[in-house]
């Protein structure tokens, strides 16, 4: 089973290579290969999720540790990894199935699939690698292909958004590289588990390392915060996510900012650094501010995808808030059950957000595909001509605003309950308040886009429902919005969420599991 781990990188990377070579000669080969390999990744993820327990390690090149010091590049598969892989492959498959019809408007379709596969390879690589420099390399693969995908339409706005994204993303990558250099300088190793052990040893013996620890933590928050678009670093997100082709917007908002931003932040701050109160507080406060700012900025938007992009900032804030409260409780030595509840809420919301934000972006893309505009003021009455898109978008909006039978309600409820139990009443109140703001702007979106007039304008133009592959992806995602609320049932939660939560709760076990000491 251990030897299957590299497949998560090999399959998409190999397919990207094959498609780049053969796509020129065999027509439409990319459209067959990409959905098939995404489906195989979904299968592999479920296979790991249901059949394996604990931490699996694959050592690249087969080099065994010397004197307990790991020298090979480690690939690690544990509960948290499996959860993020599930998100990547599921949303990735649905987005690529949607693109089969959507990309017909572009001139060089085959390059779209090559870049998409590279992006999947990069994200999978980040998630499974247990080595901090490898994380950087895969992060650059994912980021570079996403820059290219944002500019894929080569229109004015897309190029401008892509340039902005590249400059800020480039600075973030360089800050991350600087941090990696500093960590290597201080600890002499790149393996996350080994760094964690070195830092724990150093922390107790030297007074100077604490300053050093704070310095690299701040640099890491800046670097990965830019990638995750949390509050002071969010300015690129609305441009990039609203200008990209819609399936890519769904991937960027739903998966990329989580895989290369939130995942790395929680992996490093829980499992690599010793937990400290100040850092946990910083992360929680940043999460809270981005939750509020994103929500407030979203209300005023008239561009449908721009509103969804601002909403992503707000929802990422929720995820960070949930995880941050967990960190705070663990750092202050509080009740572990409360921390577990809070982290469960955060990870559950991460899973949910990728589904419903993906769904909303795909619906917005369907509207844009048929009407040719993103301005809500020019829409209205579309529920008459686009019944499927209208229903799925409504389900997505209800789920993200937290209306009971849908998944978003339960994850937000868990976060709020955890905040109250941890006695952070202000944070709980703000979470409820932002939830109300969320309802407000999604009501605006629904009203101006799909209702508001009788749609005779669109009937005259003979607008039809979107093609099968687009409708199929949206319907599956809408069903998932309802099905995922089953995760509140303890037995189901035990399979999907509990292994991931355990990795974060027993943070110190990560290095002992991997180093085997």
């Amino acid at each position: 089973m251990n030897s299957l781990i590299p497949l998560f990188v090999i399959i998409p990377l190999g397919c990207a290579f094959i498609m780049a070579m053969l796509g020129r000669f065999i027509k439409n080969i990319n459209k067959f290969i990409t959905p098939i390999f995404m489906l195989s990744l979904v299968y592999l993820t479920f296979h790991f999720m249901l059949n394996s327990e604990g931490t699996l390690i694959y050592k690249v090149g087969g080099f065994e540790p010397v004197n307990g010091i790991p020298i090979a590049i480690y690939m690690v598969m544990d509960g948290l990894t499996k959860l993020i892989l599930l998100v990547i492959s599921l949303v990735g498959f649905l987005a690529i199935f949607y693109s089969l019809s959507y990309t017909k408007q572009y001139t060089s379709e085959r390059k779209f699939y090559v870049l998409f596969s590279l992006m999947i390879a990069g994200m999978n690589g980040i998630v499974i690698s247990g080595d901090i420099f490898n994380i950087f390399v895969f992060l650059e693969i994912a980021a570079l292909s996403s820059y290219a995908l944002v500019a894929f339409g080569v229109e004015k706005h897309q190029l401008e958004a892509s340039f902005k994204y590249q400059v800020l993303g480039g600075i973030a990558s360089l800050i991350i590289l600087l941090t990696i250099a500093l960590i290597y300088w201080n600890t002499g190793t790149l393996n996350i588990a080994d760094i964690s052990r070195q830092l724990t040893v150093n922390c107790s013996s030297q007074a100077g390392t604490n300053v050093f620890l704070k310095f690299i933590s701040v640099l890491l928050i800046a670097g990965f915060g830019l990638k995750a678009a949390i509050f002071p670093f969010h300015s690129w997100l609305p441009d990039a996510h609203s200008s990209a082709p819609s399936p890519i917007s769904a991937m960027l908002s739903g998966v990329l900012i989580k895989a290369i931003g939130v995942y790395v932040i929680i992996r490093l701050f829980f499992n690599m650094f010793p937990l400290s109160y100040e850092l946990s507080m910083t992360i929680t406060v940043l999460g809270t501010i981005s939750m509020i700012i994103g929500g407030l900025l979203a209300i005023g938007q008239w561009d449908i995808k721009r509103m969804l992009a601002y909403s992503s900032i707000s929802q990422i804030g929720y995820i960070i808030l949930g995880l941050g409260i967990g960190m705070l409780v663990l750092a202050t030595g509080g009740n572990k059950a409360v921390a577990a509840l809070s982290i469960t809420g955060g990870l559950f919301h991460l899973l949910n957000h990728s589904i419903f934000k993906g769904l909303l972006f795909l619906s917005a893309g369907a509207v844009e595909y048929r009407t040719g505009t993103r301005d809500m003021r020019k829409m209205g009455g579309l529920s008459e001509v686009l019944p499927i898109t209208s229903r799925t978008s409504l389900i997505g909006s209800l789920a993200i605003s937290g209306i009971p039978p849908f998944n978003g309600f339960f994850s937000k409820l868990i976060i709020i309950i955890a905040a109250i139990q941890a006695q952070y009443y202000v944070l709980a109140f703000l979470a409820v308040l932002v939830s109300v703001i969320t309802i407000a702007y999604f009501m605006k979106l629904q009203k101006y886009t799909f209702y508001n007039n009788d749609g005779s304008k669109w009937k005259k133009k003979k607008i039809k429902e979107v093609p099968f592959s687009m409708a199929f992806s949206m319907i599956i995602m809408a069903l998932l919005c309802i099905l995922l609320s089953l995760l509140v049932i303890p037995d189901v939660r035990e399979i999907f969420l509990k292994p991931a939560v355990d990795v974060l709760i027993n943070a110190a076990d990560y290095s002992t599991n991997i180093l085997g000491i």
């Binding site: 650059e140 004015k156 706005h157 340039f163 902005k164 480039g170 990558s173 790149l190």
Partner: protein
């Protein structure tokens, strides 16, 4: 110690270029300078006073070697930097074709 500070100043020079310049090409040059400063920093970490290349040959089994790992890392990061710069320049050229200028003050359709 002074050499590390100089390296950090080089990083700041690049950052200044990115933040304050208005020309797209100058911004790209700024990013390239930042990247080189970090590569320089990495190579200095691995350097040992009086060390030789880390190749074990007869008679040199116990010689003082420099750390080879940062060198491998730099090779990777140079390749990544090449890709980043190439993509940035490609987008800058397309932007010039669309807007007819490299001035970022004139390229600001996206707001709000």
């Amino acid at each position: 110690m002074i050499i590390y500070i100089l390296c950090f100043i080089l990083f700041l020079v690049g950052l200044y270029g990115v933040v304050s310049k208005r020309n797209l090409i100058k911004i790209i040059i700024g990013i390239a300078i930042m990247e080189y400063s970090i590569n320089l920093f990495l190579i200095m970490i691995g350097y040992i006073e009086g060390g030789t290349a880390p190749i074990i040959t007869k008679g040199f089994e116990h010689a003082k070697f420099v750390d080879p790992l940062p060198q491998a890392m730099i090779l990777t990061s140079i390749v990544i930097g090449l890709a980043t710069t190439a993509l940035l320049l490609a987008v800058a050229i397309r932007l010039y074709q669309k807007y007819g200028t490299f001035d970022i003050n004139k390229i600001k359709d996206l707001k709000g």
